[in-house]
């Protein structure tokens, strides 16, 4: 079973650290309605590391990710991403849940969106995008609109759109939440395959402990009110991993139960609060 660290202890500075997150804090609203969504969120992520974040609903997972993506400014604290050498690589690319594709752009244009915004010409874009479309097996769907694809196909397009810009880090907010259980397992496999090839630094939010265990190098478990890191769990499984077989590993069930116990009280208390409010 993996070792557990509290956030402050996990300083593993021997490997090159890619992202340093220092005591982030985020509040919404003003005056009496002020509400702290995220408090004292600190984390150091190594280059090429796959971080999964789990936590009860409303614990600030999305908020933290949006701050990392620069879509939200933190109330306090800061975040530092070490750029690698390569010229115009964007700092990050985000994969959103379900409806992140532009319905009015074709698969091709959706995948090429990031490149278009960097000013790349149409022909170059086509060339740059093609290998990715091949990789996700949707080359012949190039000119389809998102509504003509199934949910799984849509999320593969979302992944390709993020990977194609070759960002320093990839941020994913429950990208597979809307898929059915079996397609979800397949997509986890495909994500791992893509990731093994590129070894990007990834922060991946999910509600599923199983998914976090299958994908992540470390799992950040969060607690709510205010949203904060409760513990960070290191996942001991060797890579490359095969999703279905990993799930049959006896350590998998143990670790899953271990994290569930840690989360259960959080989920239950969140539920009590929700029911008290309404």
């Amino acid at each position: 079973m993996g070792a557990l660290y509290m956030p402050d202890e996990q300083a593993g500075q021997t490997v090159r650290s890619k992202v340093t997150i220092d005591r982030l804090e985020k509040s919404f609203g003003e005056g009496a309605r002020r509400f702290t969504a995220l408090a004292d969120f600190s984390l150091t992520i190594q280059d090429g590391e796959f971080i999964c974040v789990v936590g009860p609903s409303g614990c600030g997972k999305t908020t933290a990710l949006r701050i990392m993506a620069g879509l939200e400014t933190p109330t306090a604290g800061h975040i530092h991403i070490v750029p690698s050498g390569g010229g115009d690589r964007p700092l990050n690319a985000m994969v959103f849940q379900e409806h992140g594709l532009f319905p009015w752009l074709t698969v091709m244009d959706n995948v090429a969106y990031g490149l278009e915004m960097r000013g790349m010409r149409r022909r170059e874009r086509r060339l740059a995008v093609e290998p990715f479309l091949k990789m996700i097996g949707l080359l012949k769907f190039r000119d389809h609109y998102p509504h003509q694809l199934s949910g799984g196909m849509r999320q593969r397009v979302s992944l390709a759109r993020a990977f194609v810009t070759d960002p320093e880090i990839l941020l994913m907010d429950e990208p597979f939440a809307a898929l059915d259980a079996q397609n979800r397992i397949l997509m986890q496999g495909e994500l791992l395959r893509l990731w093994e090839q590129q070894r990007k630094t990834v922060v991946f939010i999910t509600h599923s402990i199983d998914e976090a265990l299958v994908l992540g190098d470390r799992i950040v478990v969060m607690a709510a009110n205010p949203g904060r890191i409760k513990e960070v769990v290191t996942v001991p499984f060797a890579r490359p991993r095969s999703v279905p077989e990993l799930r049959a590993d006896p350590r998998f069930g143990e670790l899953s139960l271990r994290i569930w116990r840690s989360l259960e009280e959080e989920v239950q208390s969140a539920r009590q609060i929700e029911e008290g409010d309404a």
Partner: protein, 256 residues
């Protein structure tokens, strides 16, 4: 001999209007419907044909069409632009919202006299009343459309550092287009009503004028011809609008 339900339905759908016309004609011939007040379909067709040959019908149609097209364009284009500005900028919205809220509920035909004062008694005032009616509906729908663009698309755009112009062209415009077209469709119907109303009272030409003088002089056949022509115009106009919509919004499921 049993027919499938869907076949029965299709038969009814064809039979019902044909049946109505037939019954109408038969009742007219039999004198049950007083042909002086409600002429028979054949009579109406004949009058329409005469009006067509005399060129009168074409003139009236052309006049109404001209007013409608120009008025619609003069209302829709600024409507879309102002609506966009209101959707994008909260201060523009704060300034214009109360004005639009105050002016929008005015039944537009009511300001026809005012517009006649401003734009004269010619085509100008008729075009203006159509334009005003169209403008507000389109502006409001455009604002709603822009503001209703799912936040996630703006987030994606921001995440990929979309420059301002591209944001507009690639995200905001296509995102608002369906709602804009909803506004155009509603305002097309209102434009016709307002135009006919205006031509009733203050015009020397146009289909509305044809209907109203035909009524005043009790040339009932011509009145019916006018009603039918304006209806066909309306159908054609909404067909064209729908085709434009299909062309501009190819990513939409067009189920029917």
């Amino acid at each position: 001999m049993k027919l499938a339900k869907s076949t029965q339905e299709r038969l009814l759908t064809i039979a019902s209007p044909v049946g109505i016309l037939l019954i109408w004609q038969i009742l007219s011939n039999a004198g049950v419907i007083d042909a002086r007040y409600v002429p028979s379909p054949v009579q109406i067709f004949r009058s329409g044909w005469d009006l067509l040959l005399s060129g009168e019908l074409l003139t009236h149609t052309a006049v109404s069409l001209y007013r409608l097209v120009i008025g619609f364009a003069l209302g829709a284009i600024p409507g879309i632009l102002i609506g966009m500005l209101m959707g994008l900028n909260r201060f523009v919205r704060a300034i214009l919202d109360p004005l639009i809220a105050a002016i929008c509920p005015v039944p537009k035909i009511a300001i026809l006299p005012l517009l006649m004062l401003m734009f004269g008694i010619g085509d100008g005032s008729k075009i203006a009343v159509v334009a005003v009616a169209v403008f507000f509906l389109v502006a409001i729908n455009t604002t709603v459309g822009v503001m209703g663009i799912d936040r996630i698309y703006l987030d994606v755009a921001k995440n990929y550092n979309t420059p301002w112009l591209k944001l507009f062209r690639r995200v905001i415009l296509p995102g608002a287009l369906p709602t804009i077209f909803a506004g155009l469709r509603i305002s097309l119907g209102v434009a016709f009503i307002v135009l006919v109303g205006a031509e009733f009272v203050a015009s020397r030409a146009g289909i509305g004028y044809l209907i109203w003088t035909s009524w005043q002089t009790l040339v009932i056949e011509n009145m019916f011809v006018g009603i039918i022509v304006i209806t066909i115009l309306g159908l054609v106009a909404s067909f064209i609008l729908r085709e434009i919509e299909r062309f501009l919004i190819p990513w939409r499921r067009h189920d029917h």
